[in-house]
Subunit: 130 residues, 2 copies
């Protein structure tokens, strides 16, 4: 059993959940459920794909990880919880995190201009890495 049993608020501890969270956090990519499954299997060979999906959803709902879906329609997960955006290279398909804070007052301007009450936004940039 691992040293640090990081519990999700109001949830029971489970080794599988901890591993899913660890894998997503340590990934330097933006992994799919299937990739997470393969990684977790290295530590817990009897884990099931269903369990991985259940925990990814739970962790995302609790805000411990983020869902990322791009134009290809496959759900990906991101261990970063800070607000950030993405750059997607059209050639390689690689996804880069971008901590880009150019439009500080974007939300305010948007709400003022449109009359909506937006509370968050996300930007995806597409192009080539050069």
């Amino acid at each position: 059993m691992p040293e640090t049993r990081e519990k999700v608020a109001g949830r029971r501890y489970s080794r599988q959940r901890e591993e899913v969270l660890r894998v997503v956090r340590n990934a330097n990519s933006h992994p799919t459920a299937d990739w997470v499954y393969e990684q977790v299997r290295k530590t817990l060979p009897r884990v099931s794909l269903g369990t991985v999906y259940r925990n990814l959803n739970l962790l995302a709902d609790e805000g411990l990880i983020q869902r990322v879906i791009l134009d290809d329609g496959v759900m990906r997960y991101d261990g970063k919880t800070r607000a950030h955006h993405h750059f997607i290279c059209s050639k390689t398909g690689k996804i880069y995190d971008v901590e880009f804070n150019l439009c500080e007052d974007l939300l305010e301007k948007f709400n003022a201009q449109t009359g909506f009450k937006a509370t968050r936004y996300k930007i995806e940039f597409y192009g080539s890495e050069e």
Copy 2:
């Protein structure tokens, strides 16, 4: 046969394709493939869902319509071809087009700041319609 046979460049005319395009253009929502299918069926009862998908993909690849994918993972289509963004109401799930041009030089600033060569971007705002 309709009056105006709008042909897609380098493609043969087909009644089914024309109807798919018409339905997407006239939709004031951001319809899913299934919704488009149901609409086209009113005019062409024997159309198949496969044909609708094939034409949606073809039209999107040709740039006559746009693909829109949000966090729910279902592909939607948009008859607007001008660059624009979306506001999604968390309560109703409704998707609004936003022609919002606040950060004119966003791409330039982004490229200068990150070193990438982004050619386009899209913004999704989330919140409530109030």
